[in-house]
């Protein structure tokens, strides 16, 4: 089996969870990976107590960036919005469960960058 394109990665790529838009939504963020042009946008709906009650992502990109967004989306729904800023690059990469080469790192991290942007306004790349 391929070490990068594992079955569940391809499954998330081909059948992305929480793909689409949300209207109305409370927060949104759009960004892209300048290296390859991948684009990712996200819409959040946040409860009064600060819980992310719904999340949809849209855009286009490679299997890694799309699967990463899909997998992360499942983890983030139900979390408090305040926690998102704390999530590290390692958290996401562990979650993906695949070996990410330096070349593909930004593909994997774009989803966290965008979700963190929506939550905190921080436009930097996760470290």
């Amino acid at each position: 089996m391929d070490a990068l394109y594992r079955d569940y990665i391809l499954d998330h790529y081909k059948n992305p969870r929480n793909f689409g838009e949300l209207d109305p939504h409370d927060r949104e963020w759009l960004d892209h990976n300048p290296l390859c042009g991948d684009e990712l946008g996200v819409h959040l709906v946040v409860d009064e107590d600060g819980t992310i009650s719904d999340l949809r992502f849209h855009g286009q990109g490679c299997a890694i960036s799309q699967a990463s967004a899909s997998i992360a989306s499942e983890e983030l729904i139900g979390r408090k919005i305040d926690e998102i800023g704390e999530l590290s690059a390692d958290w996401l990469i562990d979650l993906l469960g695949i070996e990410i080469s330096p070349t593909r790192r930004k593909c994997a991290l774009l989803s966290l960058k965008v979700m963190r942007g929506a939550a905190t306004g921080d436009a930097s790349w996760p470290e």
Binding site: Y5, L10, C36, D38, A63, T103
Partner: protein, 371 residues
């Protein structure tokens, strides 16, 4: 080429044009000798052949030194949807600064330009410049640039042809094409990075103000103002790309020895073979003209269900180098309705085997993606 650069640094490393001592003379001879051969290779004249950093700088030189005075409010610059960013952004900046309009020629389904559309775009007489790629770096399309230049000139527009992809892969005669400006870049022509070429029409180059000011481009420097050196040096400020010119000279000697007709025939043949074999791979769509006579040695493609980025990664593992991305042609990507493409390029060193390995790699990608 590597040997030529290396030997330059070891044996003739001294600044050109300066000083009378022997080493400097030798460097000057190497540098100006390379200019002579490079000019002749593309059918240009020596003293209207200007060295720049790359094709991008050559186009910007024209946009600044020619465009700032020749293009005014209400004028238009006409480019095409298949241009490289280097032949788009300088014109956007120019048009914004001068209040001029940027117009585009569209690209047909099969990746070509329409001369009728060109005539229509020229018909109101506002177009001051037509800037077009000789060969598209994404579609491979060979544009009828001599015809485009003639029609533009008849309509009173100047012309710039971006030959970055053409000069390396087919016989090019800039004299016959007769554009006002013809640019290309060294690293695409098997040469080194750090050098580009601008062939300009003498009368324009003489009347244009200089672009960059500094050493070498002056005749004399007074306190308030200066006078400019003769062509081509008027447009070459500062220390010249000496080693780069020597390296590019060696690269074109190599291409000349093979013969550009032979290079073109080889690329045509490989491209035709690749287009044929690509039909075997399910889900593949190749962009650009279907007739190999109308295209150069690049094939951009999409494989349904696999993002180009992933395709390039899997090909790389199979030791097939293809490039995935927008290829510095985002407007074209938008027109084609794709985020990116994967692109294979063929040159003299490629063989049918390389095409076969590409096809095999695409099949492997389909397997990895369980398609």
């Amino acid at each position: 080429m590597i040997e030529a650069v290396d030997s330059y640094y070891r044996h003739s490393n001294a600044n050109v044009h300066r000083g009378v001592y022997g080493l400097a003379q030798e460097a000057t001879d190497l540098f100006e000798g390379a200019r002579e051969r490079i000019a002749a290779f593309a059918g240009g004249e020596t003293d209207t052949t200007i060295f720049t950093r790359n094709a991008t700088e050559a186009i910007n030189l024209v946009a600044y030194a020619w465009g700032r005075s020749a293009v005014g409010p209400d004028d238009a610059v006409l480019i095409t949807h298949m241009e490289h960013h280097s032949n788009i952004v300088p014109w956007q900046i120019l048009c914004q600064e001068r209040g001029a309009r940027l117009r585009y020629l569209s690209v047909t389904e099969d990746g070509r330009l329409s001369l009728d559309e060109l005539d229509a775009a020229l018909s109101d007489g506002r177009v001051k410049l037509v800037a077009v790629a000789h060969v598209s770096n994404v579609l491979g399309t060979i544009n009828p640039v001599a015809e485009i230049v003639a029609r533009a000139r008849a309509a009173g527009a100047a012309t710039l042809v971006d030959g970055s992809q053409a000069v390396p892969q087919m016989p090019v005669d800039v004299g016959a094409i007769d554009a006002d400006f013809y640019v290309w870049t060294g690293h695409k022509a098997l040469g080194p990075t750090g050098i580009g070429v601008l062939h300009g029409r003498r009368a324009l180059l003489e009347s244009m103000p200089p672009f960059l000011g500094g050493g070498d481009m002056i005749a004399s420097v007074g306190f308030e103002s200066s006078t400019w050196n003769d062509l081509p040096w008027k447009f070459e400020a500062g220390t010249s790309p000496i080693a780069e010119a020597v390296g590019l000279g060696a690269a074109i000697d190599y291409l000349s020895a093979i013969g550009m007709d032979a290079v073109r025939a080889h690329e045509r043949e490989l491209t035709a073979y690749a287009l044929d074999r690509l039909e075997e791979v399910e889900g593949v769509r190749a962009f650009g003209p279907v007739d190999p006579d109308g295209r150069g040695g690049v094939v951009s493609l999409e494989l349904a269900g696999i993002h180009p980025h992933d395709l390039a990664e899997i090909c790389d593992r199979e030791h097939v180098c293809i490039r995935a991305g927008h290829h510095c042609a985002q407007p074209l990507m938008r027109e084609m309705g794709v985020p990116a493409t994967a692109r294979a390029s063929f040159h003299v060193y490629n063989t049918h085997d390389d095409v076969d390995r590409l096809i095999a790699a695409l099949q492997t990608a389909r397997e990895v993606f369980a398609l």
